[in-house]
């Protein structure tokens, strides 16, 4: 099957404007602006069944239709803050097939009546930001962006904006605050961005991969898109495969492809041919799906099916864990990440990630007791449902599912009774070891 998003794998020069045009580039945008109303564009996307690829899976066309038409101006923001451990798909799309992404952003802007759109890139994508600036300048020169496009009344400008190293800015309202020049901390919702977004104005925020789908949906129609994937999850997805596999990387596949096909057919199987112990299907924010039955690997990867395994597909960043990994080590890694990335605004997340990291560190370094495992589980469950945004909730997923589904890993890491209290020098010695 040829690619829909990762088209640079078949057409290596597709980042070149002439090559992109030769392959049908910008026809969908021009057609939308000259022959369709914004509502018609939104309807096609609605009918295609396209859902947000950033993790939440919200229907894209529906999000666009929520934009408040009584309050102007409108904005579109592309969420290119890709920072979830295990996710590296948006970067490849923007590096390899940037014009399709930019065309999708232009179409989204037209659909919601925005004359300006921002691309919020994580600061680490510094070189990519400069590259996109070049592409935007080329499009302006070509008359695809700018004032009164294609002889009509519609005008559009695209701008890149670099973040500066904060996972939380991938949360859409934190992203907006950051774009406004503030610390990236989530806002209380509602109101949602289509009502009150950037600078208090109606704003649509979409993930890069979501946006990159749009030009081909408009070119080929909603039915074409729906013919791929499953009834619940239409179309294709870029799966970021990482962890203990022989060939990690991005694989664009229809929704409904099984874990087995991804890991064994595309990913070349597990390193050293070891068995899969667990899968994290949505990066570090995932529940740990236990692979204690061959049938788990035959589960189709779509939103509904993954839920039957006690997990979420999220951004489809599949981290493969083999039987050499102990879950106390893994949870120590994920909690360290969330503690570092907690923005500090709400108490359950700020304090919860801090205490969870202290307790898991104790457990992982052999200084924990059975009571510590219970305490860790207790703290995680206390946090659930109480945090301002999803980050706090995400931080508890691996903790709770790790302890509940892999109890032996934790039992083996702790001693039943408290260890003798060490003096400072002894403790420092242990920490170094």
């Amino acid at each position: 099957m040829s690619h829909i998003l990762l088209r640079h794998r078949e057409i290596p020069d597709i980042a070149d404007l002439r090559v992109y045009k030769k392959n049908g580039g910008f026809e969908a945008f021009q057609n939308a602006v000259t022959k369709m109303t914004p509502a018609q564009v939104t309807d096609v996307v609605k009918n295609s069944g396209l859902r947000g690829r950033g993790g939440a899976g919200f229907p894209t066309g529906m999000k666009w239709s929520f934009i408040d038409n009584k309050n102007w101006p409108h904005y579109v923001v592309a969420n290119a803050d890709e920072s979830e451990p295990g996710t590296f798909k948006d970067r490849e799309i923007m590096e390899g097939n940037p014009l399709q992404f930019l065309e999708g952003l232009a179409i989204a802007s037209y659909a919601v009546g925005a004359n300006a759109a921002y691309i919020y890139l994580r600061g680490e994508f510094w070189q990519l930001g400069a590259f996109l600036d070049e592409k935007i300048a080329e499009m302006e020169k070509e008359g695809i962006l700018g004032d009164k496009l294609f002889g009509g009344e519609y005008s559009l400008r695209l701008y890149t904006h670099l973040g500066a190293g904060a996972y939380i800015c991938g949360e859409e309202t934190a992203l907006l605050d950051s774009l406004e020049g503030k610390r990236g901390q989530p806002r209380v919702r509602p109101p949602f961005p289509p009502a009150v977004g950037l600078y208090g104005k109606p704003t649509v925020i979409n993930n890069v991969e979501t946006i990159a789908n749009v030009p081909l949906i408009l070119a080929n129609g909603a039915d074409w898109y729906k013919s791929m994937g499953t009834a619940d999850s239409a179309g294709v997805k870029v799966f970021s495969l990482s962890g203990r596999v022989r060939k990690p990387g991005n694989y664009e596949l229809p929704f409904g492809t099984t874990f087995r096909e991804l890991i064994y057919t595309h990913g070349g199987g597990v390193q050293d041919s070891r068995p899969v112990k667990a899968i994290m299907p949505a990066g570090a924010s995932s529940s740990l799906i236990i692979v204690n039955d061959e049938k788990v690997l035959d589960t189709p990867m779509d939103y509904a099916s993954v839920r039957t395994l006690g997990g979420d597909l999220g951004s489809a960043s599949v981290i493969v864990i083999d039987d050499s990994v102990s879950m106390d080590w893994l949870v120590d890694k994920t909690i360290h990440f969330f503690r570092h990335e907690s923005c500090g605004k709400c108490t359950p997340c700020r304090e919860g990630t801090y205490w969870m990291s202290n307790i898991i560190e104790r457990i992982h370094h052999g200084r924990g007791t059975t009571g510590d495992v219970d305490l860790l589980l207790n703290v995680a469950k206390q946090m659930q449902g109480k945090c301002l945004c999803a980050l706090g909730e995400f931080s508890t997923m691996a903790v709770v599912t790790g302890i509940e589904r892999f109890p032996d890993d934790f039992k083996n890491a702790v001693s039943p009774s408290p260890l003798p209290i060490l003096n400072l020098k002894e403790r420092e010695g242990m920490e170094k070891a």
Binding site: E82, S83, E84, P85, G86, T87, F88, D90, R91, R122, G123, E124, F125, W126, Q127, Y159, H161, L162, G163, A164, G165, A166, Y167, S178, L179, E180, G181, K182, R183, G184, Y199, S240, L241, S242, G243, R244, P248, G249, N250, A284, S317, I319, I321, V325, L330, K333, T334, F337, H340, E341, C343
Partner: protein, 169 residues
């Protein structure tokens, strides 16, 4: 010398991206510009940025403290920021960092004696399939180095020392 005197075109170009009544949005790109030469933000630089966008110096300092790519202390000319998050660690990132420490004779968070390299362990850089990997943050901006070995990293450092800049940037 103020940022506006030194880089008038860049400052204007940055401000032009945002609506004139929302100058504050320019604070982050201006901080990158102010950090370019010294590799960190001096108090004077923060005051300067605060003045351009019309917010308080405290506000600016709170941003510098919040975002990890801004620095308020002088460290090595190049910061080597190795990702040690879960997916990278599953591909040997922790051993890679330990081995780098041995070769450089410094610990994570420390700077080499000649002030050239600071070694840091950081969170996910969206390159999980190409671990071990790190980015360098220095006068030439930020650059990724993927599928790295310790030997290739030491070679990169010696090339940087000789040439004074990233090759290919």
């Amino acid at each position: 010398m103020s940022l506006e005197t030194k880089y008038p075109n860049e400052v204007q170009q940055i401000l032009s991206k945002y609506p004139p009544e929302h100058r504050r949005s320019a604070v982050m790109p201006l901080l990158y510009l102010a950090q370019r030469e010294e590799g960190y933000l001096t108090k004077a630089a923060m005051q300067d940025v605060a003045k351009i966008v019309g917010i308080t110096e405290t506000d600016v300092a709170s941003l510098v403290g919040f975002y990890t790519l801004y620095h308020d202390k002088k460290e090595g000319k190049y910061r080597m920021q190795v990702c040690t998050d879960l997916p990278c660690a599953l591909r040997g990132a922790d051993d890679f960092v330990k081995s780098l420490c041995d070769h450089l004779g410094i610990q994570v968070g420390e700077t080499s004696e000649d002030g050239f390299v600071t070694l840091e362990a950081v969170t996910c850089l969206a390159a999980c399939d190409k671990a071990p990997m790190f980015q360098t943050q220095g006068p030439d901006g930020i650059k990724y180095h993927e599928n790295m070995t310790v030997d290739r990293t030491m070679e990169l450092i010696s090339v940087l020392r000789r040439s004074g800049r990233e090759v290919g940037s």
